[in-house]
Symmetry: C2
Subunit: 207 residues, 2 copies
């Protein structure tokens, strides 16, 4: 019957997740209807419920996907930073520079963060999804905290500093700058905040 791509079986679930992430970041989970997702990927409602038993299962799958992507992106950028510089401080500063550049080059106008999007609607979700959301933040805290401990051994900061707060500052700034960027429709806010954070880190540790 000349069907170009019937029985595409393998990627329908993935395409649902992609459509869902776009929609959820754009307008929130509650405002994202199953109907619009199935129109997007060209299946029926029954098809959706074949892949996800309910909307909560969709949310869980989105979070899992997001956690993995987030980890990969951070890993990629900061290992490249370290490859370009042996020293833990300067490798980190290069990593932040690369991060800012990557953010500035994002094709989307006003990107968003799934964790933040879920955060203000978290009563909609099961406890395990809220736990995953917390974990996505803790990943950042642990990553940056470990690096600062390493740096502080070599470059002890002049003044006592709350290193945990400094680590959390990275996630706070990114989440907050995404909000500002969306509200003001200004894609430059996020990379500039990252560069400012970099200035702060350098000022703290550099002798």
């Amino acid at each position: 019957m000349l069907e170009t791509a019937d029985r595409r079986r393998t990627d329908t679930r993935e395409r649902l997740l992609e459509a869902a992430e776009r929609a959820v970041v754009a307008k929130g989970f509650a405002a994202t209807s199953i109907d619009e997702l199935i129109v997007d990927v060209g299946i029926t409602k029954s098809g959706f419920f074949y892949h996800f038993k309910d909307k909560n299962a969709l949310a869980r799958a989105l979070m899992l996907r997001y956690l993995a992507q987030d980890r990969d992106v951070l890993d990629g950028i900061f290992t490249r930073g370290d490859e370009l510089h042996d020293d833990p401080l300067h490798g980190f500063l290069v990593g932040l520079k690369l991060f800012a550049e990557a953010l500035a080059d994002l094709p989307e106008h006003h990107p968003g963060c799934l964790a933040a999007s879920f955060c203000y609607q978290d009563q909609l979700f099961d406890q395990d999804i809220r736990d995953m959301n917390a974990e996505s933040i803790l990943v950042w805290r642990r990553r940056f905290r470990a690096r600062f401990d390493l740096i502080a051994e070599i470059y002890p900061p002049k003044e006592k500093i709350d290193l945990e707060a400094l680590a959390d500052m990275a996630a706070s700034l990114v989440e907050g700058a995404l909000i500002l960027g969306r509200a003001l429709k200004d894609a430059t806010i996020l990379p500039r905040q990252v560069l400012l954070y970099r200035d702060f880190v350098r000022a703290i540790f550099q002798p």
Copy 2:
């Protein structure tokens, strides 16, 4: 018939807004039902639609209320800071200290920001509400930017610095720290971020 408070007429609208703000910050606008609000304040659905023609009108009223409160709180804290110190830099630093203390003393465990809550669901709202949301961010930018310009005249920073980004950093950090605080159920994150921001501002301008 011994009605304790029938015909309370005057404050029903206000009580609706209070209930709505609590619910919206807790679980998002879309997940906040009119039914729960009317149960909260003890009126009927018709009563709700007497006060607000639809949910969008409720959102608009919430934003207006929020803008006024936000302005008053910031005004109060930073004018007190300036009363305690003549110098624009040190008055500002005192203000930030007061701000951090006020945030640490908040009774609610995980407060939230209406602007952030609306931000990730903004497709639900009319354009004018999105504009008000942007305005609530610009209030912060203008306030802090003006102060930094003032400070920079007296204490020119050693290195070139993006003062607009430094101003936006305040709102970014607060919005982001609220998200982290909610996700991790840790009320100390927000005040600690504000204190860190204060350290950064001092490091930039102090000779």
